[in-house]
């Protein structure tokens, strides 16, 4: 059974469709890039999967279940925007995550926080943007989830931090789990992806492995993306 599945999934905001009739399946053990330009429906799809939006038509399934309490136990979600309380410090955040999620591995988080030289007593409010993003990702990747959904995890950080974030993703996911990463910074992630999904104006226009793309087109996913989405 796929860990993530969309069946004829449609979501409209008013009359404007954000996703139209999407059919998609992601198996376990894959790192998948959800790639598309701004406004193509990436965040909408991830929010639907996390029960933050409800479908206009069709369904979204996590491990065969509609989004709800049971799926939140197995999905570790990094939203596009910061949601962690700004007054907390890293230590309090780890307590918070430990209370919420049975699969939170605190030792793992502590180790990464220490490795990055982040002061566990520093409040989120006082952290730089890059440090905040690192802390959030550490929290999310420290869960032993079955599915990680990362919405633009590398958007606002410098290239060195990007490398750290990407190696954190590779280093922490267990090979039974799947990771879905939405981004438009393709060059930075493509070598860690198994599969890529191109989405445009709410429709899936390509689903393939990275190496198939390179083999068929003789070019990188990044180059193909630039060609397909040329303005």
């Amino acid at each position: 059974m796929p860990i993530f599945e969309c069946r004829n999934l449609t979501k409209s905001y008013g009359s404007a469709p954000a996703l139209s009739n999407v059919n998609l399946a992601v198996e376990s053990g894959r790192i998948v890039g959800l790639l598309g330009p701004n406004g193509s429906g990436k965040t909408t799809m991830i929010k639907l999967a996390n029960g933050l939006l409800t479908p206009t038509a069709g369904e979204v399934l996590i491990d065969g279940m509609a989004p709800g309490i049971e799926t939140k136990k197995i999905v570790s979600y990094l939203p596009e925007r910061t949601y962690i309380p700004l007054w907390m410090n890293a230590e309090q955040l780890m307590d918070f995550f430990g209370d919420f999620y049975a699969d939170f591995r605190r030792e793992r988080a502590e180790e990464m926080i220490a490795h990055l030289g982040i002061d566990p007593k520093q409040r989120v409010k006082e952290m730089s943007k890059g440090t905040r993003e690192k802390v959030q990702l550490i929290l999310v990747m420290s869960r032993a989830a079955k599915l990680y959904m990362l919405d633009e995890p590398i958007g606002g950080v410098d290239p060195a931090t990007r490398d750290y974030i990407i190696s954190t993703i590779i280093g922490n996911y267990d090979q039974q789990a799947s990771v879905i990463i939405s981004t438009h910074l393709i060059a930075d992630v493509e070598s860690v992806l198994d599969d890529v999904i191109f989405i445009n104006r709410g429709e899936i226009i390509l689903q393939s492995t990275v190496d198939e793309v390179r083999e068929k087109n003789g070019k990188s996913v990044d180059a193909l993306f630039r060609e397909v989405f040329k303005c």
């Binding site: 053990g29 990407i166 190696s167 590779i170 090979q175 070598s191 860690v192 190496d211 390179r214 180059a223």
Partner: protein, 128 residues
């Protein structure tokens, strides 16, 4: 080890090439234990599944072997490594000959050029 990956060719075949090169060049000696798939994937900045597939391919070729509990090792059969070296060399020659023939050189000219150019090329290489 150093990983040299370009962005246009499939990652899988490039990993195989890099790994073979490392074994042939003695970065991993016969009988050496290889690092874990995850560590190598992190070092190369690639997907662990792709690294796993590349190592399985080397296993099928006999260059590495797995021991169920203790990991993956470089083969102890030196002849296997020699064969791999030879086939990498043949690949280089094929691609060299291809480039030369695109430049309009025939076999004899290439050999003559090689002989006159070798000495210089060798010294340059030795200086690196």
């Amino acid at each position: 080890m150093e990983w040299q990956l370009n962005t246009n060719a499939p990652i899988y075949s490039q990993l195989i090439y890099n790994l073979k090169l490392a074994i042939v060049a003695g970065q991993y000696s016969p009988g050496d234990r290889m690092p874990s798939v995850r560590d190598m994937a992190m070092e190369a900045g690639v997907n662990p599944n792709t690294m796993q597939r590349a190592l399985q391919e080397l296993e099928r070729d006999g260059l590495v072997f797995s021991q169920r509990t203790s990991g993956r090792f470089v083969t102890e059969e030196k002849s296997m490594i020699e064969d791999a070296k030879r086939s990498l060399a043949e690949e280089q020659i094929r691609s060299f000959l291809g480039s030369m023939s695109r430049l309009g050189y025939g076999k004899k000219e290439i050999i003559a050029l090689l002989e006159s150019g070798t000495e210089e090329a060798m010294t340059t290489n030795a200086n690196i």
